[in-house]
């Protein structure tokens, strides 16, 4: 790896890290390096300074906090996968995390880094969006809570301000009757999702009472499939679910790349949403 020259700081506290970032508009936060290191290696990014937050205990760990699970920004994917609080409190996060990259990378890459990077092809942004997570940012000014719906602004762009660092994410625990599934469509195990669907579905007496659906790689940001969510409300399992899922690509603007054209991605979004909803509803 032959990146361009940069300064490197490893602050001892979150406050210092915020300070270091605020001082320099071209500074970048280095978490696990899952996305930043490839950009540096390809000389696609020329940050003046890397602020390494890897040793800040304030950002680590996964915590059960009663009505929500708090996942520290520096929790690695592997830690998230193994955390009992995640398994019981937000299993959809674990399901999607199991699909992130490969085991070696899951030991370095972090939950917070994946969200702050705001890549719509990443698996976790759509999940946090579907679960109505709340992202907690810290800066010299203090703490700011950002609902996931407001966090992802554009392609690789979050609403974090320069000098703000993602500290962690609150994932509200579901009530009774919820089922989950993450459906990832990709050509090789380590590849990004061509399309992914994060589904949280609540059932009562054989009917769907509520559905929350996050779409991966269907636009410049992760998206909710709002039309399908609305159409699923009160629907019994069966053909009606399929019909509701026909609207899964409404309002999306999927990218075009070597792996898929937009029309194919829209088609996949419909098929995969149907599969994800059926599986989440316990009716594979």
């Amino acid at each position: 790896m032959i990146p361009a020259q940069f300064d490197y700081e490893r602050p001892a506290s979150l406050a210092e890290a915020c300070q270091a970032l605020a001082e320099d508009d071209e500074a970048k936060v280095l978490a696990g390096g899952q996305s930043l290191l490839p950009l540096l290696r390809l000389r696609l990014a020329y940050p003046t300074k890397l602020v390494d937050v890897g040793r800040l205990d304030e950002l680590k760990g996964v915590h059960d906090r009663g009505d929500h699970v708090f996942i520290g920004a520096m929790a690695t994917h592997d830690e998230v996968l193994r955390a009992p609080a995640v398994a019981s409190g937000c299993p959809l996060v674990a399901m999607a995390t199991a699909h992130v990259a490969d085991p070696a990378i899951r030991h370095r890459g972090t939950f917070g880094g994946s969200l702050a990077h705001a890549d719509p092809a990443g698996d976790l942004p759509a999940v946090v969006l579907a679960l109505d997570g709340v992202l907690v940012a810290r800066s010299a000014q203090g703490e700011r809570e950002i609902p996931a719906a407001d966090f992802f602004v554009d392609y690789l762009e979050s609403s974090l301000a320069q000098g703000e660092i993602l500290a962690g994410v609150r994932i509200p625990k579901p009530g009774e009757g919820w089922g989950f599934h993450y459906e990832k469509f990709h050509r090789t195990a380590q590849a990004w999702a061509i399309v992914g669907v994060a589904a949280a579905v609540r059932r009562s007496n054989g009917a769907i009472t509520e559905a929350r659906l996050g779409l991966t790689n269907m636009g410049a940001t992760p998206l909710r499939a709002h039309a399908t969510e609305a159409a699923l409300r009160g629907v019994e399992l069966g053909d009606a679910v399929r019909q509701a899922c026909e609207q899964a690509a409404d309002g999306t603007s999927p990218p075009s790349d070597l792996h898929a054209q937009p029309d194919y991605r829209r088609h996949l979004a419909r098929v995969l949403t149907h599969r994800a909803v059926r599986t989440a509803a316990g009716s594979p």
Binding site: I2, P3, A4, Q5, R41, L42, R43, D102, F185, R187, T188, A189, Q190, A191, W192, I194, D257, L258, H259, A260, Q261, Y264, H267, L268, V271, L272
Partner: protein
């Protein structure tokens, strides 16, 4: 009685060292005062170079030197093409560093030499190049149009060749069935585990070049020819080499330029590529458009085959670029008997990275076309694809058999391999499941693909290479040294880069000399140690190099026999050799080969005319190619809603002749199948209309990993080759050659009820879905 080593599943001697990182990869080597080279590469597919200004780079910190093509113009020569396949072939000048014009994205236009790589990379940004754009030439058919822009002044056609055997017109005249298909062999990037690296140093008089190459011996000769440095002043070392797949069967611009930089600066220099740089500038593979016509009788008997190829050469002819499609010229007819055959090929220049050898080299392309078209014939006739093959293949009792294209297959048993494969696969049961899924309209359809392949291996008989106008011979050399303590040093002219020659050669020598496996070491890859060799490619190492080792051992044994006879005062004819010792027939009196090695070393009592050594050299040059074959069967599940293809089971029964080490053979077959599947499903080097490579990273150029592949069921039949004393046929390429058509045949088999008869490779989910959308409308 000692156990015969040949045939034992010995774990590889190489692996403990390789797996624990005690390796000698070129890029890990260093020299005192080492400088680092980086190349500035053209971002344009085709342009005139108006000017290159390296002056700013020269002033950057840590920069020792910076050069443009102009600075090398007087000394860099032209990269060689050793295989002018026709008399009138156009071989354009190929300067290692572009001087006046660039013809593909990635061509080197300047370089920086600095004290470290970071500074070299920074300085590249300071070089200014003024390009005057010229039109890119990307598509082969467009390149051949009369109004096309020209890649080279002489035009876009490199060569054209037609070979005919039998009366092709008669074969097609009134033929009840004619299958006419066009297949695209997409461009592939070889992707060896170890990227390329070169280091060069000089003592002011002689030069040493370390390179991650498959061909240290050929490279030495070619470096001398290209640069004018006398051959005896060049030593080439191929240290540990982490895979090649043909991509390191090359004389590269970087090798020449590093050597010239060492000469210019009088200092050691090293270059190592990044993966993205490699995707751009390691020679690519395949890239053919194949027009195939097959004429048959209504009972499925093949009458004739007509093949017309367009082969993309890329921008220049490299070491064996034009020879690659020609390696398939005699293989399209494969294992089938027919009355007539015609092969035509036109090599086309485009403004893309040159193509050259890639695992199988010409033979996978040929095998794909014939195996696909045999399935099409079966479908046309409503016949089982196995049955249509049975009706056409050479029966085991017909060997040796001279094919319509003129090769003589020495041995084989296609019936036996196929029977075994069908049983392991559960062919009939899978066909029943397929019928059931079709009846039910299951959204997941099952497809079964067949590939009964053969290949010509063991490149190659020198006489035949001469007839094909290849610039060198195909022999191989070996030396066997008996050390005073009875240990054995084998020196091979082959140059392993993952094949495990140290292990296999040890097994061969152990049997030949009766010396324990662990007492044998194998040296290779350094022209100062292995002074003669033709290196490793084309599944040739065991078939030719391994036999050379046997021949050298034979000579050692005969020398030892004379010495033993002298010491035991008998006639050499009275000695029996077994388990590493000569025994005087009918007595207890014997001498071990180790004792004889010591006796030769001390030389206290040698017979007249016997030298103080048992060491021997031998070369081997075969009379014929070898012809491994096998039957591969693949079952795929095609999700008709998404287009996703999943391989459900894969059975391969290969016949590679005598097996020296079953573990190594299985490893070669496993890796080969994976690589062939990768062509069928995953890999494609994509250039846009402006000639930009879009697949420069592994995010875009998809390589499957173990997680993406099923477990393969492997078995063998053993029909020894008759063309060499070991009976071996070579196994380096078999899996790759066989598996690609097996997979695509399976996919098409699943989709045939929908009226789909082809999916272009790689068969991506999107391509499968679009094919289905096309027929659903």
């Amino acid at each position: 009685m000692t156990v015969q080593e040949v045939g034992q599943p010995r774990k590889r001697k190489e692996d403990a060292r390789l797996l624990t990182g005690r390796t000698q990869w070129t890029d890990n080597l260093t020299r005192p005062g080492l400088l680092h080279v980086m190349f500035l590469r053209s971002p344009m597919a085709h342009a005139r170079i108006a000017s290159v200004d390296v002056s700013a780079a020269r002033g950057m910190p840590g920069v020792v030197a910076a050069f443009s093509g102009q600075d090398f113009a007087a000394e860099q020569g032209s990269l060689p093409c050793a295989w002018p396949v026709t008399e009138d072939i156009v071989i354009p000048d190929h300067p290692p560093m572009a001087v006046d014009e660039v013809r593909y994205v990635g061509e080197a236009v300047a370089c920086v030499v600095a004290t470290d790589r970071y500074r070299a990379a920074d300085a590249l940004d300071a070089i200014e190049v003024d390009y005057e754009p010229l039109p890119a030439v990307v598509d082969m058919n467009e390149a051949l149009a009369s109004d096309s822009a020209k890649v080279h002044e002489a035009g876009n056609k490199a060569f054209s060749v037609t070979i005919t055997s039998g009366d092709i017109e008669a074969a097609f005249r009134d033929a009840p069935v004619v299958i006419d298909r066009t297949y695209v062999q997409q461009r592939l990037i070889p992707s060896a585990m170890e990227p390329r690296a070169v280091m060069a140093d000089t003592d002011g008089e002689s030069f040493t070049v370390w390179s991650s190459t498959q061909i240290p011996h050929v490279l030495r000769v070619m470096l001398a020819v290209v640069t004018g440095i006398p051959e005896h002043r060049i030593r080439v070392i191929a240290p540990d080499v982490g895979g090649g797949f043909g991509s390191k069967l090359q004389v590269t611009a970087e090798e020449v330029l590093c050597l010239l930089l060492a000469r210019k600066l009088g200092k050691p220099v090293k270059w190592g590529e990044s993966r993205s740089e490699g995707n751009l500038t390691v020679h690519h593979g395949r890239d053919q458009i194949q027009h195939v016509r097959l004429a048959a009788d209504s009972d499925g008997r093949v009458r004739g085959l007509q093949v017309g190829l367009l082969a993309d050469m890329g921008a220049y002819l490299m070491l064996v670029t034009p020879g690659i499609p020609m390696l398939g010229a005699q293989m399209f007819n494969a294992i089938y008997k027919m009355d007539a055959y015609e092969f035509g090929c036109t090599g086309v220049f485009t403004t893309k990275m040159p193509t050259d050898a890639y695992r199988g080299a010409g033979r996978p392309e040929a095998t794909f076309a014939i195996e696909r078209v045999m399935d099409e014939l079966a479908a046309e006739l409503g016949m089982d694809p196995i049955e249509v093959r049975r009706r056409n293949w050479i029966r085991h009792e017909e060997f040796p058999y001279t094919t319509i294209s003129g090769l003589t297959y020495d041995s084989g048993n296609y019936e036996a391999a196929t029977e075994k494969a069908l049983a392991l696969f559960g062919y009939d049961k899978l066909r029943a499941e397929q019928a059931d899924r079709r009846d039910r309209g299951d959204p997941v359809q099952l497809g079964i693909g067949v590939s009964t392949f053969t290949e010509m291996c063991g490149l190659a008989p020198s006489r035949m290479l001469g007839e094909a106008n290849y610039g060198a011979g195909g022999w191989e050399h070996a030396s066997v040294r008996m050390l005073p303590t009875g240990k054995v040093e084998v020196i091979t002219g082959t140059s392993p880069h993952g094949q495990g020659h140290v292990t296999s050669w040890s097994q061969i020598v152990s049997d030949a000399l009766g010396v324990p496996f662990d007492d044998i070491t194998v040296l290779h890859g350094d022209t100062a140690i292995a002074h003669k060799g033709m290196d490793t490619y084309g599944s040739r190492s065991l078939v030719i190099g391994g036999v050379a080792v046997v021949k050298a051992c034979d000579k050692v044994r005969e020398k030892a026999r004379r010495l033993a006879a002298h010491l035991m005062e008998c006639s050499p004819d009275d000695l029996d050799f077994a388990a590493g010792a000569f025994t005087v027939r009918g007595t207890e009196q014997s001498r071990t080969i180790q004792e004889l090695a010591y006796a030769a070393f001390t030389a206290h009592d040698l017979p007249e005319g016997v030298e103080a050594r048992l060491d021997s050299d031998a070369t081997f040059d075969p009379d014929n190619y070898s012809f491994p074959h096998g039957t591969h069967l693949c079952a795929v599940e095609v999700d008709t809603e998404t287009g996703m293809v999943k391989i459900r089971s894969y059975v391969a029964v290969d016949d590679v002749g005598t097996v020296v080490n079953p573990l190594i053979v299985e490893g070669q077959v496993q890796g080969g199948i994976a690589q062939g599947i990768a062509q069928a499903l995953f890999e494609e080097a994509v250039y846009d209309a402006e000639g930009n490579l879009l697949t420069t990273t592994m995010a875009d150029y998809l390589l499957p990993s173990a997680a993406d592949l099923p477990n393969f069921t492997l078995d063998r039949t053993e029909t020894p080759a008759t063309s060499n004393p070991l009976g071996v046929k070579g196994v380096g390429e078999a899996g790759t050659i066989a598996s690609t058509p097996a997979v695509v045949n399976a996919i098409v088999d699943a989709l045939r009820p929908y009226g789909i008869h082809d999916i272009r490779m790689p068969c991506t989910p999107e391509r499968v879905w679009r094919a289905l959308e096309g027929v659903r409308r």
